[in-house]
Symmetry: C2
Subunit: 334 residues, 2 copies
Amino acid sequence: MVTIRDVARAAGVSIATASRALHKDHLVAQSTRDAVRAAADRLLYSPHRGARSLITSRTHTIGVLLPDLYGEFFSEVIRGIEETAQAAGYHCLLSSARRRGPSLEAALRSMRGRVDGLVLMSPEFTGDLSKRALPTGFPVVLLNSPPTDVDHDSLTVANCEGAQAMVRHLAGLGHRRIAIIQGVGGNFDADERLRGYRAGLHQAGLPFAPELAVPGDFSEAAGEAGALALLASGHPPTAIFAANDGMAIGALFALRNSGIRVPEDIAIGGFDDIPMARYVEPALTSVHVDISALGSRAAARLFSALERPAGRDFSRETLPTTLVVRRSCGARGN
Amino acid sequence: MVTIRDVARAAGVSIATASRALHKDHLVAQSTRDAVRAAADRLLYSPHRGARSLITSRTHTIGVLLPDLYGEFFSEVIRGIEETAQAAGYHCLLSSARRRGPSLEAALRSMRGRVDGLVLMSPEFTGDLSKRALPTGFPVVLLNSPPTDVDHDSLTVANCEGAQAMVRHLAGLGHRRIAIIQGVGGNFDADERLRGYRAGLHQAGLPFAPELAVPGDFSEAAGEAGALALLASGHPPTAIFAANDGMAIGALFALRNSGIRVPEDIAIGGFDDIPMARYVEPALTSVHVDISALGSRAAARLFSALERPAGRDFSRETLPTTLVVRRSCGARGN
DNA sequence: CGGTACATTGTAAACGTTTCCAAATGCCGT
DNA sequence: ACGGCATTTGGAAACGTTTACAATGTACCG
């Protein structure tokens, strides 16, 4: 492993000069700079980032901690983050913490000294563990976390509004029995989408019927199960709002297998508008979220926080959602 | 930022003792060990990994370098890698290098001193740059790379066999004009699948017709375009083999929009069997690859290489593929 | 009671960088 | 000719760890 010491020796200078020649150009003579650069190239030198970070206390790496890695949603978030990070000259240390609590805390602590900041998506984040798990003042951008935490930047999508728009749209098509397949309880996104669902019902003058709100966990399998449960309930709904596209696609699958036509017999709407949504049959009506932009913006926010280290006020931004009407909801013209 | 020095002072011992108390249990008295641990807990100490890696020359991090981050395939690979890494106490440094050449080389070099080893998926990897970009002897596991490189472990899927099985299956259903929507040229997976396609044709006694081999790039959009091109060609095929599921789904979409029934008018087969394959309509016949296991095994292989540092012989393993018959190919019973 | 072995602890070097500070060199103005 | 300044360089400290080695104390054995 070739170190800067080897480069210095090869170029016939001290390691201090070698170090300077490799970045701070103006402090070193042109000729020695060239010599050092040449030597470095020849020896295929590349600096040991760990050692550098020790002295500069900058790792040029951000941590990315997600609740899970399955599915297009997280995939797109990661893509957005990584793209922005790479453009800014940063690396991404990726980790998934399946549940909160000690596991999340341990994951956070194990990142110390490895990352300059953190993008943390934890819809179940309660805000209390940051004190224990993170050095105070450590730059963190929270993704889709409850608004209880005011000590960090945070980025959310307009869950409630989006869900409400979806339900309003379905009601506008004449549906009076609109079911929801929920996300997992205690999850901020899930709760907000449920809230939007209820608000939409209320706005349309429809009652909230508990038997039309079935549980789920954002997986395709849960969508299947949810749809089947609704069918089995004797008095099925005429429209189903799934709290994410994965479940909507699972529901679509289950209905098709049960001989139910979508949208003629039952209309379906999803949430997130993952890339796959437009390709399924029938194409899925969904609440569009610019997922990769969510990641992108989170990373960008983090980098700007890394520039202005302290004394800044934390912001909370909500990304807008838009209803994307496709065939699965049965609106005419699609 | 609390260092081991603070912990030592708080516990009233030297930093050496503090360090020892935190892992090498047997070299320190029980009482002091407890005292140090208590102090560390109280101060929320967690060691600076960069500093530690400097002396141990172990980062407990592996680099993951993928050609792209879009789509379920990469997403599943990442999931498999991360899961295994986490179980082994390792972190993942994720990066995407859109093309080979300087960008890939730079990405590799920028990882020096940050990672203990590397999982590198580069289907266009030519093997020559490893000398320049990587220290010799640096543990690397290649994913889906051409077999030209014998200096590294490598993991591949049975591309050729899988494609061949698919074509054989389609031919067995009576199809005589079987088209392929190819992957991007120069890509190892793409080339192998094309080779399997030709072998399958040959085996079925069918000629290779150049006009039935349209280009693609593994994206849904390419699948759409490919299918439309085949339709526009005056004499369309009766079956289409898309070199991955993304393109197959795109093709499905295009055919549906063109009023072509699948599988009645045209049969379709894909490759990879991404999770979404079974949910589309009609469910997609595909060549199953255990994608997350691919990532998992790559990581496991890397870890075992990290144990036995040198002098080992490099292995090349090929993951088997199995044909999964669903409705899109028109086989009876599905 | 002296010596040896062991258990426990501390001192200091090392890892590969960056950067502060001082030293060396050459140039200029007076 | 000489002091002062600018430019370029090197020595050495520092970052937070781990660990080889030395030092201390204690117990046991003869």
